[in-house]
Amino acid sequence: MDAKEIIARRVALEVKTDMLVNLGIGLPSMVANYLPEDVDIFFQAENGVIGLGARPPEGMEDADLTDAGGGFVTAVPGAASIDSAMSFGLIRGGHLDMTVLGGLQVDERGYLANWMVPGKMVPGMGGAMDLVAGAKRVIVAMVHTAKGRPKIVPECTLPLTARRRVSLIVSELAVIEPTEAGLVLRELGPDASVAQVREATTADLIVEGDVPAMALA
């Protein structure tokens, strides 16, 4: 199982029935593949649908129905079309139960940087700042290091996405919960050890007793 699949399978367990969930493009979108059968939720795509479904059958794509990455999707029965004001009203107003986003850095305060690398990549924040500021739960789904460089750091050096403590960080090595006291190591990835996580993390980690292995969907 590769790192991304581990992450997606672990995040999938955070999704509970009746939630409204927004998945970022890339790795976060893989979470949809691993949801338990009995979980009954709606996915929101911030470009304007509640009830996002899988790819449509070949030849049945509708130019007016895409996800936030521009890919063709379907809408599930009971879906609703919404405009951008309603879409971000739901996000900012606390109606979105969970967002799963990628990350460039997370720091000891639980602050996320994921939209910009100065002097390099300036794609724009899109909906990320609203999502991180407004969603009830923010899950950062990311591989633990970038080409060996730790991404969980004492303080973000990249521009912040929001001044808000995210709810959970899920990597292939660990599940880490940002708290008032700092970053608490909650679970270990398959075959990972506390020493290995510390090695790959420059931020201070709080370890309380035995750290269990992460369950995977």
Binding site: D64, F88, R92, R163
Partner: protein, 217 residues
């Protein structure tokens, strides 16, 4: 009762340097025939207010390629390397705005509010140069309304009175932009007799629409 306007006549209404709201999300729900009409006409220097600049060869991306865009107020340019290149070369001035803030700033202009008070962007680069208003112990950015000279919007259908309805994720910024420009030009996929769009289905009342583009062929 509206009269149908030809694409070239609609394009000719728009002077050099105009501020344009343009609907669409990665090209979905953009007024494609109007955009082609602007490219054919070749007058530019526009300030474009839109979610994104789409991709080269698609939607607003065509205006970028044609060199008609002097300034872009958008949430995302990540899928259009031409916009990024022109930004770096100083040919396009890009203001990046969080997506939820962008749509709400447009709405504020349309519904006569003095600005938007949002927590999105607080403590980030987006805060720079803006007033921060504390309300009941929490900080909000004061984000100003964005009005346009013209709104170029796409719709699923219009009736002869200019009432509009939208389709699925092609709603996005269109219904909001229809509120916030001196002149609104709507590009419907189809035009129906009065009464064919019942009152409860109308999302943009025809009184907001100044020009209705003739049906496509």
């Amino acid at each position: 009762m509206k009269t149908a306007t030809k694409v070239e006549d609609a394009a000719a209404l728009i002077p050099e340097g105009a501020v344009l709201h343009i609907g669409g999300f990665m090209g979905v729900g953009s007024p494609h025939r109007l955009i082609d009409g602007l490219v054919a006409r070749g007058v530019g220097g526009f300030t474009i207010v839109a979610n994104d600049t789409a991709m080269p060869g698609t939607g607003i991306g065509k205006l970028v390629t044609a060199g008609l865009v002097a300034r872009a107020i958008v949430s995302h340019i990540g899928l259009n390397p031409e916009t990024q290149a022109k930004m770096i070369a100083g040919e396009i001035d890009v203001e990046l705005v969080p997506q939820g803030t962008l749509v709400e700033r447009i709405r504020a202009a349309g519904v006569g509010l003095g600005g938007v008070l949002t927590a999105t962007g607080v403590g980030t680069l987006v805060q720079e140069g803006k007033r921060v208003i504390e309300i009941d112990g929490k900080d909000y950015l004061l984000e100003k309304p964005i009005k346009a000279d013209f709104a170029l919007i796409a719709a699923k259908a219009a009736d002869y009175k200019g009432n509009l309805e939208y389709s699925l994720t092609a709603h996005n910024f269109n219904p909001i932009m229809a509120l916030a420009a001196d002149t609104v030009i709507a590009e419907p996929q189809t035009i129906l007799p009065v009464g064919a769009i019942p009152p409860d289905a109308v999302k943009t009342p025809g009184v907001l629409v100044d020009y209705l583009l003739e049906r496509g062929h």
